[in-house]
């Protein structure tokens, strides 16, 4: 309610609306007297009726109006005689406690109100010179101070506040202070804060608990609800780990206030070196842009996303965000099974030959039951053709199926390929070709379930038809879909315009597969059109179980290398295949994996570790001995035992407390029956967090909700003067019932004068006086 409305209300009705909300209406007379009053009214009625028949100059309408006004005035007087009053619980002075929670986090240093920091209000109110508010509170209540950021702590002297807390956990702080005051008559809690909670914890349960304890929370919002000028990197979406040399595309959201339409430069820094930049036009309050860069150096790298501070910004610390990315120097192995010698084999191998972080093992069927193996690790590898056991197949992280018909496999092998994706979490890439997809007879097989495209039964072909040419052939001009235009695999060049230009100049390819539809959950990155073919899906993927499947339905992507129109130095084909195969094996789980819950922890915050273990068939293992070895930034090592969670198969958890700032390396190993299941590595960082400077505008909605749901009220520094009085009429603490008369409120007097005056005026108007 606006303050002037509240003032008018208080003038007319003697008390503020809050008292009416909290009080109970009552009459200050005994019931027999009320009864006598009722009898008096009943007797008055016949009297009125007698006057009804009086004639003269008056009309029936005049009599009715005059009788009504006179009766109303009499009833109003009668109402006052009954002594109406408001019954309110009132705190007994100095017998109830109040907890005052003062926000001690860094965001209180933000100077967004008349160039003064938010914390200044707290210092002024509870400083040594004192204030009317502090005096009023201490007159009525026994005051207990708390400082809060990560949690609440008792505070003897508010002058000791430093406003240096790295995080704000409002829910935890409320509960902590309510618990500490649980043994005293508590009138309520006062929270003085900007409400910039960054704990990501739900507050609903806390509010229910405070309701149950009957602890009203009075919140005082400090700071601006909306900055006048600010730029913030509000979100960075990047993978936790990538292969070294991978091209990353990271989504960065930039929020702004007061810079609409201006252009800023977004930089990505790796160890202080700018690895990528792009201009961003701030066309709305939040703009999400994609930025490319290459993770060139292996190890735990901290990438900084930064926009230079502009003049007039209220917070400069939120112009950058750091992201820890583990750049893995691994060489994941991909099995490429091709059913016939064809140029795709040659050119795919060439495209990735110089990529030290990809190993493509090629199994080529050169004739029936005759295989040519390329880039194998040992003479036994794939010696009898395509793997016949899960252990053998699941060693690979990616599987490419070329032009190889479904009937080449046993049903168990087809099931195994499907399990490779769903159970093992591997990446399956199916290429177009004479014997692939529908034309390869995969419809109705377990592999068809995995694929992102819809297959149809293969048509029978005679020997003569087969000799005459392919069952289906069409050239395809390939272009990216809107999603593909910004996908890491299919975006070429630094921005969309450069990528679109590149795609427009690529020569057409061809397909031997009639693919018309994709599965409902699939995403199409590339489509192709040509004579008789309208929008054939060319590059499609979908998640399936733990893994992903991709269909690349063209027969000759090598033309993007070999075609006469392609310049010799052009790297489109190489880049496409490197990115495609890196994507194929990205996020593919290994037998043992480890991850920290967050990539960054505040000093003193416990690091929560999660490990998952599988056997070589990728079945969950619950009886493994799992140990995480932590290497601290200073090189010290210690072990963290990991315990099976019981809730979930193969899942183990452990915790450790970082004692120093810096990057922690966590290596986990799992053993079962003396046999090692595998090892894995992850990184996390313990560092001063700058979360306080993000989304740092005063969160009035949250503070209002906290007050409203607990029975308190929300105030600003302009309205907080009423807080002591409002708390006086609270239910909590040591209270007594008080009666507050209502008969003498100005409204009744004005009503009475109005009614009598109206009667007189009416008589004068009608000539009846």
């Amino acid at each position: 309610m606006a303050s002037w409305v509240e003032s008018v209300f208080e003038f007319l009705f003697k008390y503020r609306p809050l008292l009416y909300e909290r009080g109970e209406f009552s009459l200050g007379v005994s019931w027999p007297l009320i009864l006598a009053g009722v009898v008096a009214v009943v007797l008055a009625v016949p009297t009125v009726l007698c006057y009804r028949d009086v004639r003269g100059k008056s009309s029936a309408r005049d009599r009715l109006v005059l009788t009504g006004l006179r009766t109303a005035a009499l009833l109003l007087v009668l109402f006052c005689l009954f002594r109406p009053s408001l019954s309110l619980s009132t705190v007994v002075p100095q017998r109830s406690f109040v907890g005052i929670l003062l926000d001690d986090s860094r965001s209180m240093q933000i100077a967004d109100v008349e160039n003064e920091p938010r914390g200044r209000f707290i210092q002024d109110t509870f400083g040594p010179e004192g204030s009317a508010l502090a005096k009023a509170l201490s007159d009525k209540f026994i005051v207990r101070f708390f400082r809060f950021s990560e949690t609440a702590q008792r505070l003897n002297d508010p002058a000791a506040l430093t406003f240096a807390g790295a995080r704000t956990h409002l829910a935890r702080s409320l509960i902590r202070s309510a618990e500490e005051l649980s043994n005293v008559p508590l009138a309520g809690l006062i929270v003085m804060s900007d409400g910039a909670d960054n704990s990501n914890a739900a507050i609903s349960d806390t509010l229910l608990e405070l309701q149950a304890r009957k602890v009203p929370v009075y919140t005082v919002g400090l700071g601006r609800e909306r900055f006048t000028k600010d730029i913030e990197i509000s979100r960075v979406e990047a993978p936790r780990s990538v292969l070294v040399g991978s091209s990353l595309i990271v989504d960065v959201t930039i929020s702004q206030r007061g810079f609409n339409g201006e252009t800023v430069r977004l930089d990505v820094e790796d160890d202080g070196r700018i690895v990528s930049s792009r201009e961003v036009e701030l066309s709305s309050e939040a703009t999400t842009v994609r930025i490319h860069f290459t993770a060139a150096d292996p190890g735990a790298r901290i990438f900084r996303f930064r926009v230079a501070t502009k003049e007039g910004e209220m917070v400069s610390q939120n112009n950058q965000r750091d992201q820890l990315i583990y750049v893995e120097d691994e060489r994941p192995k991909i099995l490429y099974f091709e059913g016939e010698p064809r140029y795709e084999v040659k050119f795919i191998r060439r495209a990735v030959a110089d990529d030290e972080n990809l190993q493509v093992v090629c199994l080529l069927r050169t004739a029936e039951n005759k295989y040519y193996r390329i880039d194998i690790d040992d003479p036994e590898e794939l010696a009898s053709g395509f793997p016949k056991t899960r252990e053998e197949l699941f060693k690979y992280r990616g599987l490419i199926l070329g032009s190889i018909e479904a009937s080449h496999f046993t049903h168990d092998q087809l099931r195994m390929i499907a399990d490779f994706v769903s159970q093992r979490g591997g990446g399956l890439l199916v290429l177009g070709g004479r014997l692939a997809l529908s034309e390869g007879g995969y419809a109705g097989t377990p592999v068809a379930d995995v694929l992102p495209v819809v297959l149809s039964p293969a048509k029978e072909r005679s020997e003569a038809e087969e000799l005459a040419g392919p069952a289906f052939f069409s050239t395809l001009t390939v272009k990216p879909t809107p999603f593909g235009a910004t996908h890491p695999v299919t975006q070429f060049g630094p921005d969309l315009d450069a990528s679109s230009e590149r795609w427009a100049t690529l020569p057409p390819l061809s397909t031997l597969n009639d693919v018309t539809a994709v599965k409902p959950g699939a995403t199409t990155l590339l489509t192709g059109s040509g004579p008789g073919v309208d929008e054939q899906p060319v590059l499609v993927f979908q998640r399936y179980g733990r893994g992903k499947s991709i269909a690349f339905t063209v027969n000759d992507s090598w033309l993007w290398q070999m075609h006469h129109d392609m310049p010799l130095e052009d790297m489109t084909h190489e880049l496409l295949w490197r990115k495609l195969l890196r994507w194929l094996v990205s996020y593919v789980p290994q037998q043992v994996s480890i991850s920290a819950e967050k990539h960054r922890y505040a000093p003193g915050e416990s690091v929560s570790l999660l490990a998952e273990t599988d056997d070589d068939r990728f079945l969950k293992v619950n009886n493994a001995q799992v140990t995480a070895t932590v290497r601290t930034p200073s090189g010290e090592r210690f072990d963290v035992p990991m315990e099976w969670t019981v809730d979930k198969d193969g899942e183990y958890r452990g915790n450790f407390l970082p004692r120093e700032k810096g990057i922690y390396e966590i290596t986990v190993s799992a053993m079962r029956d003396g046999v090692e299941l595998g090892t894995a590595r992850a990184f996390t960082e313990s560092q001063d967090l700058d979360d306080e400077y993000f989304q740092a505008e005063m969160r009035m909605a949250l503070l209002e909700r906290v007050a409203h749901e607990t029975g308190g009220r929300f105030y600003t520094p302009d309205t907080v003067a009423r807080l002591p009085e409002d708390m006086t009429y609270a239910e909590g603490g040591m209270t007594v019932r008080e009666q507050h008369d209502l008969w003498d409120m100005p409204f009744i007097f004005l009503m009475l004068v109005g009614l009598v005056g109206s009667e007189w005026g009416y008589r004068k108007l009608r000539g009846l006086a």
Binding site: G339, E340, P341, R342, Y343, V345, K346, F347, R349, R350, C362, L364, R365, T366, A367, E368, K370, Y372, I374, R434, E466, L467, G469, P470, F473, S510, L512, N555, D556, W558, L559, Q561, M562, H563, H564, D565, M566, L568
Partner: protein, 260 residues
């Protein structure tokens, strides 16, 4: 008119007729050997591609179109027979009965990363052809060079290839190179020339980046003519064993060229 005069007039007329026929034929050769053949449209399958060129010598001969254009030796039966062998012995499904002919500077050649060039003793590529072949090879194309003997033909090949790949070396290959095991396991390279006994075949390669561990871009069968074996394999004129070896080489060249 005296018989002598009649005879002279007849000879003169005959000479005019012969000249009027011969000059256009010769002119057409000089303009690019516009002999009739049909190239088949690209359909995604393996197609045997023969490289045509303007030879340093030409004439009539027992070859296709009754002409000895050098590059047309063994055409078309050699490729037809090799495709039949590929079809029956490998999982490749080549275009049967269809083979294409391209000049080295024809953009269409780049749709076919495997090509066959013979009689390089008479090869003298233009600058455009040499540059195009260089691009073709560096992009990923594979060239089989066949049917040349004697030192002068070798020197011509070396000289012409220097125009194409001036920084590249010709490296003699032995049987241990993967190309000789890409499909058939070839134990020896000790064959005889099909028509000229006494010539010992030698295999020379050009490697990517001049590195013998890397991709072989060109293989040249010096003192050899495996195309001849392919052509005459069904005639009974050449020994079956050696024909088989020639086919093995051909199949291996195709498999290697498609996979390396």
């Amino acid at each position: 008119m005296s018989p002598t005069l009649k005879k002279r007039l007849f000879l003169a007329l005959a000479a005019v007729v012969v000249m009027s026929l011969a000059v256009p034929i010769g002119a057409s050769f000089l303009q690019g050997f516009d002999v009739p053949y049909e190239n088949h449209a690209y359909n995604g399958r393996f197609t045997f591609v023969r490289v045509k060129f303007e030879p340093t010598q030409w004439g009539r001969g027992p070859y296709q179109w009754g002409l000895d254009l050098k590059w047309n030796h063994d055409y078309p039966q050699a490729e037809r027979n090799l495709m039949t062998i590929l079809k029956h012995h490998t999982s490749i499904s080549p275009n049967m009965g269809k083979s294409n002919i391209y000049a080295l500077d024809d953009p269409e050649l780049f749709r076919y990363p495997w090509a066959y060039l013979c009689e390089v003793g008479f090869w003298n590529p233009t600058k455009a052809e040499a540059e195009s072949l260089r691009t073709y090879l560096l992009k990923g194309g594979f060239l089989v060079v066949d049917d040349f003997i004697t030192e002068w033909q070798w020197f011509n090949y070396v000289e012409q290839m220097r125009k194409v790949m001036p920084d590249y070396q010709l490296v003699e290959l032995d049987v241990s190179h993967p190309i000789f095991n890409s499909f058939f396991y070839i134990e020896t390279l000790d064959f005889e020339h099909p028509t000229l006994p006494g010539y010992q075949p030698v295999y020379y390669g050009i490697f990517e980046d001049n590195d013998p561990k890397k991709r072989l871009m060109v293989i040249a069968n010096y003192n050899h003519d495996i195309g001849d074996y392919w052509e005459w394999s069904g005639s009974g004129w050449v020994p079956i064993d050696i024909s088989n070896e020639a086919f093995k080489l051909g199949v291996n060249y195709v498999v290697y060229g498609m996979t390396h």
